[in-house]
Amino acid sequence: METIPEQTRLHIPQPESRPGEQPDFSRIEVPHAGEAGRPDPLIDARQMPDLSRALIRVLNRENKAVGPWANGISADTLREGLKLMLTTRVYDDRLFRVQRQGKLSFYVKSTGEEAVSVAAAMALRSGDMLFPSYRQQGLFIARGHNLVDMMCHCLSNTRDAARGRQMPVMYTWKAGNIFTISGNLGTQLPQAVGWAMGAAYKNQDHIAAGWVGDGTTAEGDFHHALTFASVYQAPVILNVVNNQWAISSYQGVAGGEHATFAERGKGYGIPALRVDGNDFLAVHAATRWAAARARKLGGPTLIEHVTYRVEAHSTSDDPSGYRPMEEAQAWPLGDPIERLKAHLIEIGEWSEEQHRQMHRTIAEKMQAAYKEAETFGTLNDGPQLPRGTMFEDVFKQPLPHHIRQRAQLEEEHND
């Protein structure tokens, strides 16, 4: 039997720090806001300046919006963005607590990543189709989905649009043009490309956008999305939310050690933007750029949003087992809500008092919404969906064996 020496030639990527060690984000280069150039959205991909290693930032240290990506977004829009991000955060906090009370089986927060979804949704048109992963609840909130409906989904209750079939957070909202979220990572990205191809086929100028995490970029689906998007020049925005972690694996395990995720686009001739994902204005501007490009038949764009997963992966996870507790505080790109708030205050369009007031209003609304949601039942209590509905929607019409099985199930409960 051979023995394997301790000193192996196999490179195993390791994060900068583990529990008990000092957080270390020195690998994250933070260029000055305004530094990255902004090419014309219809620039030939071959002429595209390399923004895949840049970091597009708009808000500078003085909380001012600077540089070519600062595109004159109105204070009203910014306030709306602030409200939607805060709503998302309060929503997350509320549902997290509900989960801890045992009323939800599971929950996933997006704390710290609210700009990624809220700003993107605001930069798109309502007819554009969205294919999120499970951490973009901000898209639903920004598109104005009813909070009660969202909560009812998480409670799998009688008002759940998914009819009790999905775990919490895997929303579906056809009226809002957001696709049913999959528990399987990555599958939705090439689907977004297909939807975009369909829109182009039908000569519509709607575009599609999809989101995956840094970890998920390793799936074959990611490659399929980029390949098909490039081949058919599909009007689609492919978003990678690099929140540094995939459960316990840091982004280097997904291949972030030797290239950025935005750089993946280069290999397919797809323009790529690497964006400060905690800078609302930067995410908004980048999404607008990509949307303009796609809508005018310029083809797909890949956007990497550099952000940080502040909380646990999900309620089933405890990150103290694999990363320093203090890492979130050490994150160099700050908090998207705090930064946008500071910007609005800086430009004289907001105040601490207004902010407190808004927070209060949102919290009250959330409280009321949750109360209402519970009247439709929880997983364990209150009104329940009829169990027989579980046999519906497997097909458009139940097949004979579904009818038989449904009857058998009812019988089990009549005993």
Partner: protein, 337 residues
């Protein structure tokens, strides 16, 4: 009415579908200009335009994924997988997505996709051009799985599949493309020209999914099969003189249990036959259902005639293939039991 082989019948079905619904489109490897390695889509790109019938990158998972997106966008994609053996890279998109989208969205979203793929052996394709993976798909709720055995059914069923609002796995026994095949590779190949089921209407018609067809009424036993083996079964009856009732299932999910059970209850003996590997093949499901529904009528164990539990080996193709001998032996065992 025109005499057509199965390739022409499938082509005609797609021609009709493209003609009647601008939301129908065809995509797959080599299906565009070239018209597919088996020529099933020949001429369709020219007739309907580049964007209606087009080539894809070689990525079965990607093809199904983008077709899902198209379906969600309101289109009706018809996908060709070049060989059923190459469907596995798409299994995640088929199982985790295509089959589940209607269900997991509470009925909000659905994808009316048809996935065509040539299956089965008999063309010296070795282990990677001969497989019959229907058993896997029948285990996945949310998919319909069908397999025609002749040109008439092929066209009518393909139109049904395309018009169906649920995803359909459409298996095409490639050994039947050019003619019926009775399982004897040493006999000269037959063509569909002399066969009644080669007479195919020119325009639109459908053969419903979920209806089996009794291709040979009989008294001695019930032989339940589909695809290529339908023709082997008929030849086996002829050769052995056994008066079997031969049922061509055509559709595995939905399954026409009425036709099956009525026949078995009458004959009291059943043989099920398929080309796929035996263990956990669809034959097992058939046996399980038959003994559930016909236990008191059965006078002998239900026999399975199948491919072996090996890959489909190149040199031993005809040893793997469940031909007349294997079928007759099984029928005899059933009759003598």
């Amino acid at each position: 009415m025109t005499n057509r082989n199965m390739i022409q019948a499938l082509n005609s079905a797609m021609d009709v579908a493209l003609g009647q619904d601008p939301n129908t489109l065809i995509l797959g490897e080599d299906v565009g200009y070239f018209g597919g390695v088996f020529r099933c889509t020949a001429g369709l790109q020219k007739k309907y335009g580049l964007h209606r019938v087009f080539d894809t990158p070689i990525a079965e998972g990607g093809i199904v994924a983008v077709a899902i997106g198209m379906g969600v966008a309101g289109l009706r994609p018809v996908v060709e997988i070049q060989f059923a053996d190459y469907v596995y890279p798409a299994v995640d998109q088929i199982v985790s997505e295509l089959a589940r989208i209607r269900y997991r969205s509470g009925g909000e979203y659905f994808v009316p996709m048809t996935i065509r793929m040539p299956c089965g052996g008999g063309i010296r394709g070795g282990q990677t051009h001969s497989q019959s993976p229907e058993g896997i798909f029948t285990h996945v709720c949310g998919l319909k799985t069908v397999i025609p055995s002749n040109p008439y059914d092929a066209k009518g069923m393909l139109l049904s599949a395309i018009e169906d609002d649920d995803p359909v796995i459409f298996l095409e026994p490639k050994r039947l493309y050019n003619g019926p095949f009775d399982g004897d590779p040493d006999k000269p190949a037959l063509s569909w020209t002399e066969h009644a089921d080669g007479e195919v209407p020119d325009g639109h018609y459908t053969v419903p999914l979920g209806k089996a067809r009794v291709v040979r009424p009989g008294q001695a036993l019930t032989l339940i099969t589909y695809g290529t083996l339908v023709h082997v079964a008929l030849a086996a009856c002829e050769a052995s003189g056994i008066d079997a009732e031969v049922i061509d299932l055509r559709s595995l999910v939905p399954l026409d249990t009425d036709t099956i059970m009525a026949s078995v209850q009458r004959t009291g003996r059943a043989v099920v036959a398929h080309e796929a590997t035996r263990t956990s093949g669809f034959g097992a499901e058939l046996v399980a259902q038959i003994q559930e529904d016909c236990f008191w009528h059965l006078e002998a164990p239900v026999e399975r005639v199948t491919g072996w539990d090996t890959p489909y080996p190149h040199a031993f193709e005809w040893d793997y293939f469940p031909g007349q001998k294997r079928m007759i032996a099984a029928m005899r065992r059933t009759l003598e039991a």
